[in-house]
């Protein structure tokens, strides 16, 4: 005959064992997940590192300049285009139209005048000639090279260096 205390203890022991197994499996599953995450983080970091290098490579001033010349209608800023707020001319006060109230006579006149005048043709949008800033020496097409090409060159340089060292 099992005493009630023993029965309770037995049940508790079984429950503890079950809980232990559960926790143990959970930990092992979490550990697997952690491993996967760590691997992912590592590969993502490596990818970010490579992308940073590629970003810098794609931002070579020479390449940007070439692309800007090809696709944009902009030229470098010159000193003449810069000014401070203090040097701006003050708007002459006497030229401001005085606010006036009239009964509508002048408005008709203005409209009539406008209708009578020949319509000015809107000026054709003036497209600035794209002038190369400085002629390039050693015209390499920087815009179309990729980091991968450079890496290939590096590697071929290693091969080259190896040969030179072997001599």
């Amino acid at each position: 005959m099992i005493r009630p205390t023993s029965a309770i203890l037995l049940v508790l022991a079984a429950a503890a064992g079950g809980a232990l197994f559960h926790v143990s499996f959970e930990v092992s599953a979490l550990d697997d997940r952690l491993g996967t995450l760590n691997r992912d983080i590592k590969s993502d970091r490596e990818a970010i590192h490579v992308l940073k290098a590629e970003w810098s490579f794609l931002n070579q001033p020479e390449r940007i300049e070439e692309l800007a010349r090809r696709h944009l209608d902009l030229t470098p800023v010159s000193g003449k285009q810069l000014t401070g707020a203090g040097t701006l001319p003050v708007r002459p006060e006497q030229d401001l139209p005085a606010p006036q109230i009239d009964n509508g006579q002048n408005i008709d006149r203005a409209i009539l005048l406008d209708a009578g005048a020949p319509k000015a043709k809107p000026a054709a949008p003036h497209r600035r000639a794209i002038v190369p800033v400085v002629s390039h020496t050693a015209k390499t097409d920087v815009a179309s090279r990729s980091l991968d090409d450079v890496l290939r060159e590096i590697v071929s340089d290693d091969v080259h260096a190896g040969k030179a060292g072997a001599r």
Binding site: L34, N38, I41, K42, R45, E46, H49, V50, K52, A53, E54, W55, S56, F57, N59, Q60, P61, E62, E65, P76, V77, S78, G79, K80, Q81, L82, T83, G84, T87, V133, V134, S135, H136, T137, A138, L147, D148, V150, L151, R152, E153, I154, V155, S156, D157, D158, V159, H160, A161, A164
Partner: protein, 565 residues
């Protein structure tokens, strides 16, 4: 009865013994559990954090620290980095069909020979290298082949995204990632294993501007090379340093030796008339000459077998500002005699022109100075002959002359707190006079081609004949120009030198500094000033005219004994 009692007592004794033993055993057990309990308490409650930390250290991915830290420019743009690369190796025992595997590998890596790969794959070894440092794309393609027995080893490779643009500054490393030149060599210890990227004082945009403008001019004047440097006069920081021809640090082994030569720091040259800046500054500082003094430049100076003459002879008495404006060798030599050899040498030493610079590059040279400082040396040094310094020496000394007279060591490293110390070489007053004189040269002297409207460029031309085998060659020139801007309160020194330019029709056959280097300085300033946030000034504003005014006429007290024009 007695026996029973005896028996009872024996029984009692046995029970007593058993109880005692039980007690001892129980006490031992209790003590053991107490120890376990105490340890449990210690681990769970007292040392909780330490264990968490230990667990964290095991589980969290190491932040990606490469063997070498990155190098970035002053705006954080990546100039050098280490990329993880993969090297391909194979275990030949696991490769089932070496011949077909070799064919497929060579399709992805066409520079490998099929026979070599096949031979390696059929070797009786457990490990053979097939190819070091694959690009990510190549690695992906090899993986896609799905050949069993191939594997990759992780390695690191130094990459310079901006290629030749900053090649001379950054330098390069060998395959084992040890610095072999430039910053990579001089800062090797600081770069290896550092977490933070190394920040240089270079601005890659200005670097591009200088390189582009200089390259165009070198091509135009059929020169053999050239160099350019931009220096912040307030901090001594090098903003740009270009030496042409240059090389791609990504492939240093393929670069010819002469392209690796850094003309700015390693080359020492007799730089010519740009030295008159120091001659005038020393004369004004020591009181050997004043702005209103005049010198007789009517005829060339003959001293022993030397003859000092002017390039554009005026054949008249010249005032001190006129000597500077017209770049008169005769006048400068006479001023140098008034200064004296001892004082000249002392001040050139203070300007750092007689010792190595402090720049963080291994490629450096000691200036070449006369062994004995005789009178003739003093006279030739006044206009930049008989002393050879690197362009960096010159730019640094010019910065000290115009920034209020304080020499700050030139540096390539961006400091967290800008340099405020330095050595006072000239007085602020002398520095102010020199700024006026430099502006005079660009306004209506030999350096007019360097002007950039609104930026008040001041500067000095220099044209020196190169010495070849001990004698000067008339048609091999080092033409240079040193510019400072804005002249009222200089921020930057821009120095450009062009090696052996040939005169062209556009320059009327001249290959002098004013025709070759000065336009480059003007072009660089026009393009870099807006980038550096320098506001253009109104050159006709009265306060600016007053700040830069120079009186060209001789004063009443000093000057020629009898006035003959």
């Amino acid at each position: 009865m007695i026996r029973r009692i005896k028996m009872e007592s024996t029984k009692k004794q046995a029970i007593e013994t058993a109880r005692n033993r039980l007690l001892i055993g129980g006490a031992l057990m209790a003590a053991a559990f107490l120890v376990v309990g105490a340890r449990l308490f210690d681990i769970v409650v007292l040392n909780e954090n330490e264990d968490l930390r230990r667990a964290a250290a095991r589980d969290i991915v190491r932040p990606d620290i490469m063997a070498r830290a990155d190098i970035v420019d002053r705006n954080g743009i990546l100039l050098a980095t280490s990329l993880p690369t993969a090297s391909l190796f194979a275990n030949p025992h696991k490769v089932s069909d070496p011949a077909s595997a070799a064919t497929r590998i060579v399709e992805v890596l066409p520079d490998l020979s099929e026979e070599v790969v096949a031979a390696r794959l059929s070797a009786d070894k457990g490990f053979v290298w097939l190819r070091r440092n694959l690009t990510p794309t190549q690695q992906f393609e090899i993986n896609r082949l799905g050949i069993p027995g191939l594997d990759f080893e992780e390695e690191e490779r130094r990459v310079y995204p901006h290629g030749r643009l900053a090649g001379h500054i950054i330098g390069f490393t060998n395959v084992d990632n040890a610095g072999l030149a430039g910053i990579e060599q001089s800062m090797d210890a600081a770069i290896s294993g550092a977490k933070e990227p190394l920040k240089l004082s270079i601005d890659i945009r200005v670097q591009q501007i200088v390189r582009q403008e200089l390259a165009a001019q070198i091509e135009k004047f059929k020169a053999i090379g050239g160099g350019g440097i931009v220096l912040d006069v307030r901090t001594g920081e090098v903003i740009s340093m270009v030496s042409l021809p240059d090389f791609d640090p990504n492939a240093p082994a393929q670069a010819p030796d002469e392209t690796r030569f850094n003309r700015i720091t390693l080359g020492v040259y007799e730089l010519g008339s740009v030295f008159k800046i120091f001659n005038h500054a020393i004369a004004l500082e020591t009181g050997a000459a004043s702005m209103s003094k005049s010198y007789d430049a009517t005829k060339p100076i003959k001293i022993s077998r030397f003859r000092i003459s002017d390039y554009h002879p005026e054949n008249r008495w010249l005032t001190v500002p006129e000597i500077f404006k017209l770049s008169s060798n005769i006048g400068s030599a006479k001023m140098a005699l008034d200064i004296g050899s001892e004082r000249q040498r002392k001040y050139l030493g203070h300007l750092g022109l007689l010792r190595r610079t402090s720049i963080e590059l291994p490629e450096q040279s000691m200036p070449i100075i006369p062994a004995r400082w005789r009178e003739i040396n003093t006279m030739t040094i006044s206009y930049g002959h008989g002393i050879a310094v690197s362009p960096l020496h010159l730019a640094s000394a010019v910065a000290a002359t115009v920034n209020g007279g304080i020499l700050r060591p030139a540096t390539l490293i961006r400091a967290k707190t800008p340099e405020t110390g330095g050595v006072q070489v000239f007085s602020a007053e002398t520095s102010d006079k020199m700024r006026r004189l430099l502006r005079l040269v660009v306004e209506n002297g030999t350096g007019r081609n360097a002007d950039a409207p609104g930026y008040l460029v001041g500067g000095k031309t220099g044209t020196a004949e190169k010495q070849v085998n001990g004698s000067y060659k008339r048609n091999a020139l080092i033409s240079s120009f040193v510019g400072v801007f804005p002249a009222t309160d200089p921020r930057f020194v821009v120095y450009i030198m062009i090696d052996e330019p040939k005169g062209i029709r556009e320059s009327f056959g001249y290959a002098t500094g004013g025709w070759t280097a000065a336009p480059v300085v003007g072009g660089v300033i026009k393009r870099m000033a807006p980038l550096m946030g320098i506001k253009p000034l109104d050159e006709t504003a009265p306060e600016i005219v007053r700040a830069l005014n120079v009186n060209l006429t001789a004063g009443p007290a000093e000057g020629r004994p009898n006035a003959t024009n």
